[in-house]
């Protein structure tokens, strides 16, 4: 579904991504794990059009989307849940969700119902400003907002960041539930354990390169990964 070929990105004066290639098959959960500064977020931002790459290509459903405007990429069906949630604090929960569907002109009621069925907690808080929600609720709102654009592929940048372990589990359950409902997922995580348990395919990124790849289970069993990321 998504094909990254030899992608190179300079960001902030350094070569943050040094020619990586990977693919995300339709209907799967793919995770990109790695330490801080490995270039994971830069990769996601490049795919979503927020940063322009210096080389390589991004192919989505057979079409080249390299360097397209973010709005055009959202319209193609790729939405990002940004790192640190980045919900709109002064807008109400409902307004936040509606912004997610900004490029759509059709009726939103079904989608709102869908998001509320995934996150019943949001339904109780429709009129509350986003900034007054707890961290976990904000993450749910960020995911719900992304779903409102009816994406085919949803990319999540560290959804577990700064959340309590129980809440992290909730979030990952929801990620799997969304995937079951037909949305392909590309997940970036430092919480390698949780991510690899959830993912079908995993890639390990180190200083701008992909150094390892395999199924989630394979990587979980890999001694090197255990030593570097799983702390055992």
């Amino acid at each position: 579904m998504l094909e990254i070929k030899n992608l190179k990105v300079n960001y902030g004066g350094i070569e943050a991504v040094k020619g990586i290639s990977f693919s995300v098959p339709e209907g799967s959960i793919v995770t990109l794990i790695g330490a801080n500064g490995a270039g994971k977020s830069t990769t996601l931002r490049t795919i979503s059009g927020l940063i322009r790459p210096n080389g390589g290509s991004v192919i989505f459903q057979g079409g080249d989307i390299t360097g397209m405007e973010p709005a055009a990429i959202v319209e193609k069906g790729i939405t990002m849940v940004p790192e640190g949630r980045k919900i709109f604090p002064d807008l109400t929960v409902l307004e936040n969700l509606k912004i997610g569907a900004y490029l759509r002109k059709d009726n939103l009621n079904d989608d709102l119902e869908w998001v509320f069925s995934l996150f019943p907690r949001l339904k109780e808080r429709t009129w509350q400003p986003g900034g007054t929600l707890s961290g976990g609720e904000q993450q749910m709102l960020a995911v719900g907002r992304a779903l409102m654009s009816r994406p085919k592929l949803i990319m999540m940048d560290e959804p577990s960041l700064g959340l309590a372990p129980l809440v992290v589990r909730d979030i990952f359950n929801i990620i799997q539930e969304i995937n079951r409902q037909g949305v392909t997922i590309l997940l970036i995580e430092q919480n390698a354990n949780m991510a690899l348990k959830t993912a079908d395919i995993g890639y390990v990124m180190e200083t701008g390169r992909i150094t390892l790849s395999g199924s989630g289970a394979e990587l979980l069993a890999n001694e090197g990964i255990k030593a570097a990321y799983l702390g055992s």
């Binding site: 405007e69 940004p82 509606k98």
Partner: protein, 361 residues
């Protein structure tokens, strides 16, 4: 708490507006037309429009722009240039052979044209300027406003703008109803815009540009829309101000005017339309009327009240501003809006509390 339904709300709002206009009409019948009250109401209504238009940009879209006075100038000049009666032109343009504009537009089309011309200028200025962020945007817009002021005073443009001389003898309003109607309609349009999906996008950009962009909101496009629309209404405000002052001269539209407007935005609450309106009337009433006494040397008996002298009003204002910024920095309304629901709730609480106290005693 029982909420009012929408139909009731619309009815009550309509009744309040009609009530306000009847009140204004009655006041005009019974008070002398020279009363300070009318000066305050007229100027207050005009400022309310300009302040709300600036709030659309600064408060709702998060673009810190300081070009308001420049845009008002364009509106004021456009209105004046196109409405001076043909027979009065030789007198107004005495140094420029009666100018080159040889026709006159009716008032309402001229006001709309003032908005459109301002919007076109703003669009062109926005193309380079809106790439900048925060302070840099403020500096650039301030610079453009000064350029506009100098440009309109340029001698070579004299046949159109009358150079640095006054424009006068154009049609003006006498009744307070006129500015209230025009400003009211414009503010209503801005409110509709803010509550539309565009308004939501503006607020999203204000809250978080990156997230807004990731949601598919085209930043450049939306900033441009907000900037142009805000300037459109600033231009209309400028036209009204020209009518209020009866003469117009570019040198009056200094940066101080922008600061004054920005100040009212802050006092009213950045991101609150009703706050802006309320603060406009309060500010104008204070500066034009209630605090005038601060500028007059006053004697109580033979005792000369210290400090009261020309310009002291400004000092007093400066202190008020500092107090607001330090202790009350969200303004009168914050980002809240005045609403009937809130008002009814407020009185109900007061009332029930008093009743409880009554029954307790």
């Amino acid at each position: 708490m029982e909420h009012l339904n929408n139909k009731q709300k619309i009815l009550i709002t309509a009744a309040l507006i009609i009530g306000l206009f009847i009140l204004l009409l009655v006041l005009e019948q019974f008070l002398p037309s020279s009363s300070m009250l009318f000066v305050v109401l007229k100027k207050g209504a005009i400022y309310a429009l300009v302040v709300v238009s600036m709030n659309l940009l600064n408060g709702f879209t998060g673009l810190f722009s300081l070009g308001q006075a420049g845009f008002m100038l364009i509106g004021a000049y456009t209105y004046a240039i196109f409405t001076i009666p043909v027979e009065a032109r030789p007198m107004v343009y005495q140094y420029f052979n009666g100018g080159i504009v040889k026709f006159t537009l009716p008032v309402i089309p001229a006001i709309i044209l003032a908005g459109i011309v301002t919007a076109i200028f703003a669009y062109l200025i926005g193309l380079p300027v809106l790439r900048l962020k925060s302070d840099y945007l403020a500096i650039a817009t301030l610079g453009f406003a000064e350029i506009i002021r100098a440009f309109f005073q340029w001698d070579k443009l004299g046949p159109i703008t009358n150079g640095s001389n006054l424009l006068k003898l154009y049609p003006v309003f006498h009744s307070v109803i006129f500015p209230f109607t025009v400003a009211g309609i414009c503010i209503a349009i801005i409110v509709l815009l803010i509550n539309s999906s565009y308004g939501r996008a503006f607020k999203a950009i204000r809250d978080d540009e990156i997230a807004a962009e990731a949601m598919g909101i085209n930043l450049a496009h939306h900033k441009q829309i907000s900037f142009t629309i805000s300037s459109f209404f600033a231009g209309i405000g400028g036209a009204l101000l020209a009518m209020f002052q009866t003469t117009v001269q570019a040198s009056a539209f200094r940066a101080t005017m922008t600061y004054e407007i920005l100040l009212i935005v802050v006092i009213g609450g950045i991101g609150s339309v009703t706050g802006s309106c309320l603060a406009s009337f309060l500010f104008i009433a204070c500066s034009e009327w209630w605090l005038r006494f601060l500028d007059n040397t006053t004697y109580i008996g033979s005792f000369k009240v210290p400090l009261l002298a020309t310009g002291f009003r400004k000092v007093f204002f400066a202190v008020v501003i500092m107090i607001i910024v330090l202790f009350y920095n969200r303004g009168i309304m914050g980002t809240n809006e005045f609403s009937l629901d809130a008002l009814i709730e407020f009185f109900r609480k007061r009332f029930s509390k008093r009743r409880k106290e009554d029954s307790a005693t």
